[in-house]
Symmetry: C2
Subunit: 681 residues, 2 copies
Amino acid sequence: MIQRYVYGSPLPTEAVVRDLPVLPGDPECLTVRKDASSISFSMPLEPDDMIFGLGETVRGINKRGHVYRSWNSDDIMHTEDRQSLYSSHNFIVISGKKRTLGLFLDDPGEVIWDLGDTSMEEIVITSLNGDLSLYVITGDSPRSVSRELRGLIGKSYLPPFWAFGYIQSRWGYGSAEDMDSVVHEHRSRGIPIDGVCLDIDYMDQYRDFTWHPEKIPDLAGLVARMRRENIHLIPIIDAGIPDDPEDRACKEGLEHDAFVKREDGTLFRAAVWPGLCFFTDYLNSRARAWFGSLYRPLLEAGVDGFWNDMNEPSLFYSMEGINLAYSVADELRGKNLRVDDNWKLQGTFAAVANNRDDYKSFYHDMDGLRVRHDKVHNLYGYGMTRATMDGMHAFDPDHRFLLFSRSSYIGAHRYGGLWQGDNRSWWAHLKLNLQMLPGLNMCGFLFTGADLGGFGSDTTEDLLIRWLELGIFTPLMRNHSALHTREQEVYRFKSWENMKNIITVRYALLPYLYSEYLKAVHHDDLFFRALAFDYPDDEIACQTEDQVMLGNECMIAPVYVQNTSGRVVYLPEDMLLVRLRAYNDMDLVPMKKGHHWVDARLHEALLFIRRGCCIPFASGKIESTVDIPDHPLYLIGWDPDEQGYTLCEDDGISYLEGTERTLKPSDPALKDSVIIRGDVQ
Amino acid sequence: MIQRYVYGSPLPTEAVVRDLPVLPGDPECLTVRKDASSISFSMPLEPDDMIFGLGETVRGINKRGHVYRSWNSDDIMHTEDRQSLYSSHNFIVISGKKRTLGLFLDDPGEVIWDLGDTSMEEIVITSLNGDLSLYVITGDSPRSVSRELRGLIGKSYLPPFWAFGYIQSRWGYGSAEDMDSVVHEHRSRGIPIDGVCLDIDYMDQYRDFTWHPEKIPDLAGLVARMRRENIHLIPIIDAGIPDDPEDRACKEGLEHDAFVKREDGTLFRAAVWPGLCFFTDYLNSRARAWFGSLYRPLLEAGVDGFWNDMNEPSLFYSMEGINLAYSVADELRGKNLRVDDNWKLQGTFAAVANNRDDYKSFYHDMDGLRVRHDKVHNLYGYGMTRATMDGMHAFDPDHRFLLFSRSSYIGAHRYGGLWQGDNRSWWAHLKLNLQMLPGLNMCGFLFTGADLGGFGSDTTEDLLIRWLELGIFTPLMRNHSALHTREQEVYRFKSWENMKNIITVRYALLPYLYSEYLKAVHHDDLFFRALAFDYPDDEIACQTEDQVMLGNECMIAPVYVQNTSGRVVYLPEDMLLVRLRAYNDMDLVPMKKGHHWVDARLHEALLFIRRGCCIPFASGKIESTVDIPDHPLYLIGWDPDEQGYTLCEDDGISYLEGTERTLKPSDPALKDSVIIRGDVQ
């Protein structure tokens, strides 16, 4: 059951798709305190209460014991003390023996979530806007509460099937030669691949909707050549439009009056990659429609996937900010600086980026409603995602396109996917990215995945292998890294064949993964779940934070530690271990409920199938998603019931309804099935 | 066996205490490559090779799979990609089925340790100086190889017994009132404590060897008042001496010609807390003796413990560096900065701190040998530690003093302890600090411990409790935090009684911990060891990185994860679990070899005693180390042999030889002993 309460004058976020009646008064479960402009909601925590949700955030699956801050931030250091990342997803579920309770704050401004940090025994949620809709959701389990929320916020984005293929990316790829080389290195070795990303260097001087005239002389030709190799090109688009009258997007944007302005009506400018930029008012439907139209030349050239970046928005500096920094520097110049002044000098240039004063200095026109940016800050990336997807639908309403964004807010999950941001080549981030998945799913973001191998810092061969072993299970499976870091395409490494073999497992699993993805979309369900969702009465399962449930039949337990040949896994029930080395090389080990040391050498991924279930695998070696229909399925399971597995399918590219069919273990057509029967000792 | 090889002209580091003959040629196990000035040593790695050592470094106990860099650095972000921390300890042990091999590079310049990072199958160690002594140590186990090294580098520092008591510290304590209040809050609640640290604010304008005239009007009176409460004051001393003719240390230093100089003979200056400073030439014996004499007024006032800081040395900026930054800023001022120029501007002020060019711009006079600083950079903190301890010995040769430093090099372990640097209130650092301990011990640094609760960032109540549960086992047990972070004295928290109870466990354990510490000092042994050292044939033990052996009888397995009521522990043999809540409240659970889920609620610490062993506990509640002799001992063990436990003792304060006595389980005098006999099911 969902109860809606309204405080102040909520802004039109379009996060929800159902207009619920507003209840009078305050929810019984919360103590409400109003301040001059802010409002806070508090409630006591029971010792056994766990807190799930909050989407893209640092720390564990259970979010209890930290202060989080909804404020979309371009901050590359995702250490555990961080309060904000690129997205803000204002939904939590509090779950304990006494109750299960969901709270969704539809509030696009800054919200502070003190989840048992200041006091271990209390939650305090503070909205600095004081204008919001609060949805209180009750249900009999965290999964059902999450489903209620999902029903309220609308169906999740459905990408084309090819977007589930392996994607190679790197900041630095900019030319047609780069693309050809990357594809050649994969295809010539038989490493499966479906897409290659173009990062900012493909543009002409970092200007959106341009391509470098020498590096990519014939875009349509390149796209067509790639397509013959079953490769999709996926260019990046940034939020800022350069202040340059020679720039087409800039000229058009000025003509369309599409950019955000300061209080005095002058245009707001701040620097991003190409220098000083204007920023499209994505909260205005007219500006959104114009921006969406800018993708058309790329779409016409055959591009059918994009990633939107820098849309928190990331601001390197404004002229006001940088001039202030210079004046501080002038004041301190030549002085013998004791520590306070030294820090002031050090801090002044660092503070020009993503400065709060800049975010308070411009306004949106929300179709007639003028709103200062900081009040709606967390909507900006959402608006860009929506503009893009609307533009693609306007270009071709019948086909699905790939789109994923860095910044988002609940609502954006209907228009595109989300990658897990600019992580680093840290083992700690392999674990963090695993732990983010259930919370992102709860907030509707099903199409997601991490930069495999890590974006910042230098990867190592073993870290990349282990990360691929997680990536084969995430809907978005992209290897991406930053300029000046170690090159991390799999073919750079001595053990590339092991990595290739792991990627072949991804393709063998795709029928199952895609089917579970479709079910999660259609039934507002979770592709990834905390073990606590499935085994609420099992205290150890509830505390297990380095394993997650995948789909309805499986659990994954990746290795996220260096220099190990296995790990301890907790099985909350009997499960069949599938130790995966390649599409055609795996061990099947039925295991009883409990703790186990499970061998997992560097080139071995771990999948666990619940006893009583079976899942389909595609047979044979597959190098691209287009080949999958040609590969017969077979089942693997331990004591599956005769119902077998219900496979959801569709054509993978249109919005035509899909089909369901039952794969039964007894079906002689599934002749390669491996079904294990009976108890193990 | 130790073999010594010499390359180039090694500098006199005084890391070792034995002058070994130099062997001709190169060691058989290494491939040696010489470059213009650098030299590198490489060897292939076997798949099962583990690498231990390197002292204070990030990442796991097994150092394989990363590049480390010996270059003492004041860097507060101890993330896993960091190559350098505050100290450099150039000793590793490579251990696998094929061989056990130690390598010690006595080289005080920059050394790069590529331990299977660039290639997973190779170690490459590069000395940028090219001048070094290389010691190749063979033995039948990592422990015996470590002992060989320890015999070469000399006995580890022995602090007074009181230094093993609980110490409270915070950046911000500066006045006599602060001291009185902290002590009162502990003593009035019966929270055991033996020392309080004074961070930089006790000084007059951050000037070493001063104290603030208003905040501490009567230093000797304060020290005496504290001593009546059995509290030792531990002031901080920094490396830089302010360039101020009014400052006594500055004046004396100039008179003694004790400061480092540039190539042209002018004094080198760089800013630290008090602004521009001179830097004592700790590599010169005359300057060292002078600097050591500066402690005398504080010693005469009764201070008997110090911590030395900022001695990498940390340099906030030099005039040359900051002027360069200003010139870059001038060049870019007013321009529309595309990304490269923006980064240049951002980076230019950040780069003034700890700049390599500054470290190359001054020289040491190593008793007649003129050496550019960067060639001997890693000796600087060592020299300061030595100056301090020599000064204290000159003041009173018969008594032991507490001293711990931030920066060090092998050799400094003979003169003082080391705290694990400016960590953060991260669960990840609780684990990191555990994982650092065995490597530090291998390099001779036995007296060590982390800032409990974390230095930077805000702690949480549960993190502090868990960190105390590790801290009760480390020789240095100090709660320390940074200015502007959440106050983290235990009495600030609702569950302070649980924390107090955990601290009482520390005092009950002190007879055992001190005895094992003495054994480790006297026998060149390890107080903390990787499980791989004790169970080399147990593959799972070798890979267990979140548990360490403590002394000869015990293993610890702290909880380092939030929101959990226990953890999985691997027992490499039968062990007795001692689940500790207070000195008089514990569970004893005999457990068989293997993996176990072990309950450990928030206020419960875990200790494991090997079956066949017993260890002594002091009975009764103890609030200060001075009380310990009044508290009778008792034994706890599971099937201990009749030899019982050999207790090492001394008077805790002088250098007089200690005694050994055997505590037998059958001794009726140890009447409170709890001895468990026989098998468990």
